[in-house]
């Protein structure tokens, strides 16, 4: 990756700046706001910029909005990254096995992929969380369950072309175990186009997590931006800032992921074009 070229695009710079800020917020949350962000911090429905001890004001129950914003960044980033990592891992394994094994295995795995793509992903996540019960781990699994199909398809398409190459043939000739060929020779070479998709997957995961917690299906013991927006909805007329502030954080986070991802893909595409 050519960092000079990456940072020549203003969009990529903006994207990485936003992501850096979010990561700093997430890491600093327990240091700056060591107390429980769900605890009462002051009088309820304090407007922003009134009291400098609570710069963004408080919600209906008197909880600190700024503390919620920082702790919410932790949840959003953690769930987004974990769910994206899980979907890419599962997707590339399924795709590699399907593409490399071919035949009946391929047919069965691809029909399963079709089935997962036929069911609206959000409904699937909703159903799983509602049946198993909301916790951070379940939310991660539920999001991954609806997002692994994209990586699986791309990995399979890559593997189909890679498995015909000479180095795979030579690995066969020297008597390498097929499982070893699939995962040590083929899979690493099939990964780049799958990873190019990761920013879209992370962004979708953050949005899905927010929508789930907005509907009351997030981990009840954690602050989430979606949950804060839902909280603010009850007082939408008198205190719209309670829904607007965490929403802006969400939009910035997702936009940051998109812009950074696009910057990386474009700069590596430009490098390939030059070579």
């Amino acid at each position: 990756m050519n960092l000079g070229r990456l940072f020549r695009s203003p969009e990529a710079v903006a994207g990485f700046a936003i992501l850096g800020l979010l990561a700093a917020m997430a890491l600093a949350a327990p240091l700056l706001f060591p107390g429980d962000p769900l605890a009462i911090a002051g009088q309820p429905l304090l407007r922003p910029f009134q009291d400098w001890a609570l710069p963004l004001g408080t919600d209906r129950l008197g909880r600190d909005v700024l503390a919620g914003l920082f702790h919410g960044a932790r949840t959003s980033l953690a769930v987004g990254l974990a769910a994206a990592a899980a979907s890419i891992l599962v997707g590339s394994i399924v795709g590699t096995v399907a593409g490399f094994a071919g035949g009946l295995v391929d047919e069965v795995l691809m029909r399963i992929t079709d089935a997962f793509q036929t069911v609206p992903g959000f409904l699937l996540s909703l159903a799983l969380v509602s049946v198993v019960g909301p916790s951070l781990a379940v939310v991660v699994v539920a999001i991954a369950l609806s997002a692994w199909t994209g990586p699986a398809r791309i990995a399979r398409a890559e593997v189909l072309s890679i498995r015909e190459r000479d180095f795979v043939a030579s690995a066969r000739v020297i008597g390498m175990n097929p499982v070893e060929i699939a995962f040590r020779e083929v899979l690493p070479n099939a990964l780049p186009p799958v990873l190019a998709l990761s920013s879209v997957i992370v962004a979708a995961a953050i949005l899905t997590e927010a929508a789930l917690s907005f509907l009351g299906l997030g981990d009840p013991n954690r602050v989430t931006w979606g949950g804060m927006i839902a909280e603010g909805r009850a007082v939408l007329r008198s205190a719209p800032y309670l829904s607007v502030i965490p929403g802006i954080a969400l939009v910035l986070a997702v936009l940051g992921v998109y812009l950074a991802g696009e910057g990386v893909v474009e700069s590596s595409a430009a490098r390939e074009g030059q070579a």
Partner: protein
């Protein structure tokens, strides 16, 4: 027409195993949920321990999982999706009652996002790399980053709470006694915000696809030939470039349908539109797993049907599609 029929037949046969996998998945989810169909039935209708035992036996719930899966499949074949706890009615009845509202919302939102995305995509793709193109691309990306439920809330704050131009929620004015055209206008009035929220989020996808497609066509020889012949740029953009880039967007219509169904859950919840999505949220709220699974099954069938229709439309628009199926 023969070509279309052949394509249709192949797609229909192909969707059977997919649907079967969806059903098995639903069955597993139902099994994982606490309580079974009898608990659900008794909770809503009432009954004593003896009746519960008898029902379990007569519904075959004491049999092995394999037998139960077969029974479940058999019931589904007879369009029996089980019993809803929350509504004390068959699941299918409740779902079918709500389906038209969701179809209406989805259809209008799809039309909005397709029209807006294509139009702005043509403006962006007319001169790839221009300031206008950059602005539209970044702007649409920013909209795509907005969570649907939040956009819905912000639009509500602006247009219903502050400006009081549009109704806050619901599908129509309750007990207004309106009929005919007046009622249709009332519903349309209520649906402006839900349709706009849902449509605005997804139009970026069409814009970006249109733009990318046009950038590709600009590099082709026939575009160069058209320019060499001195055809006005405006005409090249419309009848050469945009026209050729438009076709792949039709496929996107089908692929988008599953995502839009998911998106309608939150939008319908925010605006209290009595559709499938709001029903799903109600099912979650009242722990009504049979109803939730029923909604998933109906949505899966809906997605398959929409994709089939899109395939047919595509085959009608592009004579190359399916032409190779004769030899395959």
């Amino acid at each position: 027409m023969n070509r279309t029929v052949r394509l249709l037949k192949r797609r229909l046969v192909g969707s059977i195993p997919v649907l079967l996998i969806v059903v098995i998945g639903s069955f597993l989810l139902l099994e994982a949920a606490p309580g079974d169909a009898v608990d659900a039935y008794v909770a809503s209708v009432g009954g004593d321990a003896g009746m519960i035992e008898a029902l379990r036996q007569s519904w075959g719930l004491d049999a092995s999982p394999m037998t139960r899966l077969v029974a479940y499949l058999w019931a589904l074949l007879h369009l029996d999706l089980g019993h809803s706890v929350a509504f004390s009615r068959p699941v299918l009845d409740v779902v079918l009652e709500r389906l038209p509202n969701t179809l209406f919302l989805m259809g209008a939102a799809t039309a909005l996002s397709f029209a807006l995305g294509t139009a702005l995509g043509i403006i962006a793709g007319a001169r790839p790399g221009s300031a206008r193109d950059r602005f539209l691309s970044i702007g649409s990306l920013a909209l795509y980053a907005v969570p649907g439920f939040w956009l819905a809330l912000v639009l509500t704050i602006v247009f219903s709470v502050e400006l009081r131009w549009l109704p806050l929620s619901g599908m129509e004015t309750i007990a207004s006694g309106k009929t005919g055209l007046a009622r249709a206008l009332d519903i349309a009035w209520h649906m402006v915000l839900p349709v706009t929220s849902l449509g605005l989020i997804y139009f970026a996808l069409y814009l970006r696809m249109m733009r990318a497609g046009m950038a590709e066509v600009w590099r082709m020889d026939f575009t160069l030939a058209a320019r060499a012949r001195g055809i006005p740029r405006r005409r090249i953009v419309m009848s050469h470039v945009a026209r050729n880039a438009l076709l792949p967007l039709v496929t996107m219509l089908g692929l988008q349908s599953a995502q839009m169904l998911g998106g309608s859950v939150v939008i319908e919840s925010v605006f209290s539109v009595p559709g499938l999505g709001r029903l799903a949220q109600e099912a979650v709220g009242s722990r009504d797993t049979p109803l939730l699974i029923g909604i998933i099954l109906v949505s899966a069938v809906l997605v398959i049907v929409i994709n089939l229709l899109v395939d047919i439309a595509y085959a009608a628009l592009d004579p190359r599609v399916g032409a190779s199926e004769a030899s395959a």
